[in-house]
């Protein structure tokens, strides 16, 4: 339960914690966007350097990030194998029957791994340093222009922040029900796939019933306290732009300019 790092806030200190969440979201978007256009080892190297700098600034142990990568390792491996086997070109490095590994295939595979890992790590940095509620209000703030075309931004943001608030609750609940059913002999790790799928029913049903109950309770609680519209809610923590954010924009601008320059070197 506790080994899912993506989407999990870890308290800490430093510039990345002080920054406005909007800045962090924008930076992450710019970074990921640029990474899609990375085309040479220098551009990847440049991106990796930027990432390592950000990693160090979070002042969190590297073990935390390793745990973030671990659950998606198989996904990375799968993509790599596909890349290796199905990209053509010459020279052929290795051939075994119909299986052929070419040099461009190998290079592509390496690029895919690096890109994948960089993107995952950058988003992990965002969620590790930003509480879910801050992410929700940042998204609301960033989406504000869409109000002009009648998108219910405030409602969407409220939904998002409620959903995020429920995550730790649901995790606690899952742990509790899991323990209760284990005490009644539930075992998820043995038997055929079909059997295992059936074995989660005693876990899922109570979880779903409990979540539904909680949702109804929350709706009632909001209604009796006079909730009418998500528009114009006051917040516990107001977003504010500061010196750290200026610094961050300078950093991402330097990164982007460097990246573009490097991508012309062939």
């Amino acid at each position: 339960m506790n080994n899912l790092v993506i989407g999990q806030f870890v308290p800490g200190s430093g510039i990345l914690y002080r920054m406005d969440p909007r800045t962090k979201i924008l930076m992450t978007i710019v970074y990921v966007f640029l990474l899609v256009f990375a085309n040479s080892w220098v551009t990847y190297l440049w991106s990796a350097i930027f990432l390592v700098a950000a990693l160090l600034l979070t002042k969190q142990g590297l073990g935390l990030y390793w745990r973030g990568i671990k659950p998606i390792l198989w996904l990375i491996l799968f993509t790599v194998v596909l890349q290796l086997l199905f990209s053509g070109g010459t020279p052929v490095l290795f051939q075994w029957g119909a299986i052929k590994v070419t040099e461009p295939g190998l290079i592509n595979a390496i690029y895919v791994i690096v890109r994948f890992v960089l993107i995952v790590l950058m988003s992990t940095i965002l969620t590790i340093t930003t509480p879910p509620t801050a992410i929700a209000s940042a998204i609301e703030s960033l989406l504000k222009p869409l109000k002009a075309i009648k998108v219910p931004v405030a409602e969407l943001a409220l939904m998002l922040s409620i959903a995020l608030r429920f995550v730790p609750l649901l995790m606690g609940e899952t742990d509790k029900i899991m323990k209760a059913q284990k005490s009644r002999g539930m075992s998820l790790s043995t038997g055929s796939l079909m059997k295992r799928a059936k074995a989660v029913i005693p876990l899922l049903v109570p979880l779903f019933v409990g979540a539904l109950q909680r949702a109804l309770d929350l709706a009632n609680a909001m209604e009796v306290r006079g909730f009418e519209s998500a528009e114009g809610r006051t917040r516990y923590r107001e977003l504010s732009y500061g010196r750290d954010d200026t610094l961050a924009f300078v950093a991402i601008a330097v990164f982007a300019i460097g990246f573009l320059a490097l991508s012309f070197i062939k």
Partner: protein, 306 residues
């Protein structure tokens, strides 16, 4: 079956972010007795009892559960049989109900431990009868029941596995007085059947009425482990230090002792307390010393009412 904890440490989490909770625990839970665990909130009671059926494995030290030994290295597969021997009832156990009908839900445990449908059904019916659940509701959905009825079904779900040891983590929370009294009766019945019982409770009256021995937890350590009579004989100041209440009868008794009254044993019930007090007053009237020589009378003591 005896459960024995030796040199146990426990921390939640892994790697750098561990939260140490239990420190150097050594405890024995004797067979056929009721052991109560008390302590202020967050002192590690729930964490401790989850070691008893291996829902949590010790970070260091060993837990001996009958013939099984659980350490940090014990494989997950080896833990399942332990759960057939130690049943666990969590706080608000009704949140574990899942099956389409009451009877199927109660049959879930026995079936997981290898009972046939027929055996499981018999065990379930027996367990439901024991908790006083209405026969006509066996084929109802558990989600249509009242809170109290759901609690009974959940309890039956653990009883049906017929474990030798049963652990209850605040089982009376949220029950009305009637429901609480019935629960206490059930615990007594189970003890009289020879089961070993571990009970976490915040209600000192319950502890006094039921427990043979008491474990007091404080900041993840055992602050006291002794027979219930010894525990409640401790001074009031000790309970204040542990942020624990005394049962009303005993608090009253201790106040009276300050006034010079002497009791020959701890009053477990209001009735018992009244009798002891009446004896004191009788003897005071007879000797005429009560008002001015309370201290000297404290030495001689009152007449004994057993």
């Amino acid at each position: 079956m005896v459960i024995n904890i030796e040199g146990l440490d426990f921390a939640y989490g892994a790697g750098k972010q561990t939260v140490p909770v239990l420190k150097n625990i050594n405890l024995t839970f004797p067979e056929g007795q009721i052991t109560a665990i008390i302590g202020q909130t967050g002192s590690g009671k729930s964490t401790l009892v989850q070691q008893l059926n291996a829902l949590l494995k010790p970070t260091a030290g060993e837990v001996h559960i009958g013939d099984h030994t659980v350490t940090n290295k014990t494989k997950e597969k080896a833990l399942t049989p332990i759960r057939a021997e130690v049943g666990m009832v969590f706080q608000f156990p009704e949140s574990q109900l899942f099956a389409p009908t009451v009877i199927e839900d109660v049959m879930y445990g026995p079936k997981n431990f290898g009972a046939t449908d027929e055996e499981a059904k018999q065990a379930a019916e027996k367990a439901l009868a024991k908790v006083g659940f209405d026969t006509s509701l066996y084929d109802q959905s558990p989600f249509n029941l009242s809170g109290g009825q759901m609690r009974r079904v959940a309890l039956a779900g653990v009883l049906a596995m017929n474990p030798q040891t049963m652990v209850f983590d605040e089982p009376a929370a949220g029950l009305d007085p009637q429901g609480q009294a019935e629960l206490l009766d059930l615990l007594r019945t189970l003890r009289d059947e020879g089961k070993t019982i571990v009970l976490i409770s915040h209600q000192m009256e319950q502890v006094l009425a039921l427990a043979n021995q008491v474990v007091v937890m404080k900041d993840g350590q055992v602050a006291a482990h002794e027979p219930v009579e010894e525990l409640f004989a401790r001074p009031q100041s000790w309970f204040a230090d542990q942020h624990l209440d005394l049962p009303e009868t005993i608090a009253f008794q201790k106040e009276m002792e300050k006034q010079g009254f002497v009791f020959d044993h701890l009053a477990k019930t209001v009735d018992d307390l009244a009798k002891q007090l009446a004896g004191q007053l009788d003897s005071a009237k007879l000797t005429g010393q009560r008002s001015d020589q309370a201290g000297s009378q404290a030495q001689t003591g009152g007449p004994h009412h057993e």
